[in-house]
């Protein structure tokens, strides 16, 4: 199979769509048109590629983990999105959207953030392009990730506190959408994951496709023309996962998404509609959205991007939950064996490889290391001491 254009309706099988207030429908349609136009324009692609290369530092390398491989009995390769400017894969999408916003004549950006990685990336792009920027962040996350809050402020962004509901990523999305409803003429909503109303799940995937495309080529060289047996990535909204999956979906590689046990929307597989699209969603017996609970603020989200629900429902990818305790162990494991401190989000992927080492024995596994762990060091210090 291949990952295709979901069409003007934004459908991935039975998932996706444009479930937004009427006020936002014209903006979503305008964005769909603008993205189609830009993505087909070699000039836009060249400008974005230049930024990804000269500013973000792409291509990111693939690192073979000799020590970890020996310890686990599994050949582990890391796609090093942690080495991008701003410390995660998020910059790929943000540079694309900011460039698109500029092309559309928008002067301001609004975004939501969980761990702060997307917020920092958006604030960075706003500084680079000279745009005003507002980032909504849950009150709980602001405490967990105070360094990223300060980073955003240094970059000239206004950080607004989302105080409703669970006061985490879900509520930051609500607040960002509410704000967007009132300033839709001048402001682009720079959504940070492959979720939300069409065209976001598709557009964000396309902006992260570079991860998969690079990795495919790098693996081809490293593996003598072959592909890894398994490609694995953590899944909250699912942007880094969809990016790396897009490079391997047409191969024999098994695709594995790793969810936090407290936010395992795909594993539980109950469809719902919130934040613009139909997808798997954690909810109670009445359809009220439940609060996710994860050690990692970036995965603390009750939903998932619609294309992941589609990939799961057709059996092309499988999704597995890991516990916070496994994540803490994996965080230390990679740090100790390879000298690479992963983001807590990315440590989910490592945690599954570690747990599944028997099943994976002798196989080659490509892990998308979506971000670096500097932001999580304070939190880990509290947990480990």
């Amino acid at each position: 199979m291949t990952m295709t254009d979901p069409g003007p309706e934004g459908r991935f099988g039975e998932f996706g769509g444009t479930f937004v207030p009427e006020t936002l429908v014209p903006a979503c349609r305008e964005l769909d048109g603008a993205f189609r136009d830009a993505w087909a324009d070699p000039g836009f692609r060249a400008e974005l590629n230049r930024l990804l290369t000269d500013y973000a530092g792409r291509p990111s390398p693939v690192t073979e983990c000799f020590n970890l491989s020996q310890e686990l009995g599994v050949r582990v390769l890391l796609k090093r999105e942690d080495l991008n400017h701003t410390g995660s894969h998020k910059i790929n999408n943000v540079l694309g959207q900011a460039l698109l916003a500029k092309r559309m004549g928008k002067t301001r950006l609004v975004a939501e953030t969980g761990a702060g990685q997307h917020g920092v990336a958006t604030a960075t792009a706003a500084a680079l392009f000279g745009m005003d920027c507002i980032v909504y962040m849950g009150e709980v996350d602001i405490v967990r990730q105070e360094l990223n809050v300060f980073r955003m402020k240094l970059l000239g962004t206004e950080v607004r506190t989302a105080r409703s509901g669970s006061r985490t990523l879900k509520d930051a999305v609500n607040e960002a959408m509410r704000y967007w409803v009132s300033v839709v003429d001048t402001t682009h909503y720079c959504l940070g994951s492959a979720m939300g109303p069409h065209p976001y799940p598709w557009m964000v995937r396309e902006f992260h496709r570079v991860i998969g495309d690079e990795a495919r080529e790098q693996c081809r060289k490293l593996l003598g023309g072959g592909v890894p047996d398994v490609v694995v990535a953590c899944v909250g909204g699912g942007s880094n996962a969809i990016g790396i999956f897009s490079g391997f979906v047409d191969t024999d590689a098994e695709l594995v998404g790793v969810e936090p046990a407290g936010g395992a929307a795909v594993t539980r597989a109950v469809p719902g509609i919130v934040h613009g699209s139909k997808s798997y969603l954690l909810q109670d017996e009445w359809g009220q959205v439940l609060e996710a609970e994860s050690i990692s603020a970036g995965l603390d989200y009750p939903g998932v991007g619609p294309e992941h629900s589609h990939l799961a429902s057709i059996g092309r990818a499988r999704y597995i939950p890991v516990t916070d305790a496994e994540v803490v162990e994996a965080f230390q494991l990679l740090t100790r064996t390879e000298g690479i401190i992963p983001a807590l989000e990315s440590a989910h992927a490592i945690a599954w490889v570690s747990r599944a080492r028997d099943e994976l024995a002798g196989k080659t596994v490509l892990v998308n290391l979506s971000g670096r762990g500097d932001k999580d060091v304070t939190q880990m210090m509290d947990i480990l001491t």
Partner: protein, 259 residues
């Protein structure tokens, strides 16, 4: 079988009056159904019943707070409908909630639950025209009127399709933004009403940002009437009770009648 929204609103318009539809958060306070009755007795033509949802993205702080309080008190879609069933309010009701509660229940079951509870209409603000098909089929089959919103951001070509598909009335969104009281009526409110009145014979009511009797009168110079939400819910949150809600609705009724 309950009276249809459209029949009630056309009757008010036909008699030369302006339509008044207050919004009440279902389950907010043990006596919320008494507030619904008080609003009806004070001259409301229909009542919107908000069914609390965890993530109300179209709502401002007042209705969010009301939602949170009701949910914390254990209110469910079922408990709201159970209270409405046989409540004998005297005017038609429309449920306003978000699409996931209908989707999770199953569109057909949700629509028949509404009809069975005597609810005439349904408003799902995060379900635009593009996605309405499966729900509309279920609602039509159950005899539930689906009210669609029309927003100031809509291009002209979109509005006739919204008016065509909307039943009960056409809900003109008064401003580019979320629900809540503003100090002045937005310029967009009357423009929205005029754009809709020019293309449909269905009742055109404007809501969102209509928070005072004076603002209601102002927009009703063009529209067939108003939906008033946050100002009522604020009165409920302030402990105004049935009497307070009734008094407030009376003020709007009197202002609209003495234009």
């Amino acid at each position: 079988m309950s009276e249809s929204l459209e029949t009630a609103l056309r009757a008010r318009r036909g008699s030369g009056g302006k339509c008044l539809v207050p919004y009440i958060t279902g389950g907010l306070g043990d006596d919320w159904i008494e507030m619904v009755r008080a609003a009806a007795a004070a001259g409301a033509d229909a009542i919107e019943i908000g069914v609390p949802f965890s993530d109300p993205v179209m709502d401002g702080p007042t209705i969010q707070l009301a939602n949170d309080r009701a949910l914390a008190a254990g209110v469910t879609p079922q408990s709201v409908l159970d209270t409405l069933r046989g409540a004998d309010i005297g005017v038609p009701t429309a449920v306003m909630t978000y699409v996931n509660l209908a989707f999770h229940n199953g569109y057909r079951r949700f629509a028949s639950n509404l009809a069975e509870a005597g609810v005439s209409g349904c408003i799902l603000p995060d379900m635009p025209l593009e996605e309405i098909g499966p729900w509309a089929a279920a609602a039509d089959a159950a005899g539930v009127e689906t009210v669609l919103l029309a927003a100031p951001t809509a291009p002209d070509e979109r509005l006739p399709r919204i008016c065509e598909r909307s039943h009960g009335f056409v809900y003109g969104v008064g401003l580019v933004g979320i629900t809540g009281v503003r100090s002045e009526l937005a310029h967009s409110a009357k423009v929205m009403a005029a754009r809709l009145k020019a293309i449909t014979d269905k009742p055109v009511l404007v809501g969102v940002g209509v928070g005072s009797p004076a603002q209601a009168v102002e927009v009703s110079e063009v529209s067939d009437g108003v939906v008033i939400g946050s100002v009522i819910v604020q009165r409920m949150l302030d402990g105004g009770g049935p009497e307070g809600v009734g008094d407030l609705v009376s003020e709007f009724r009197t202002a609209l009648d003495s234009r």
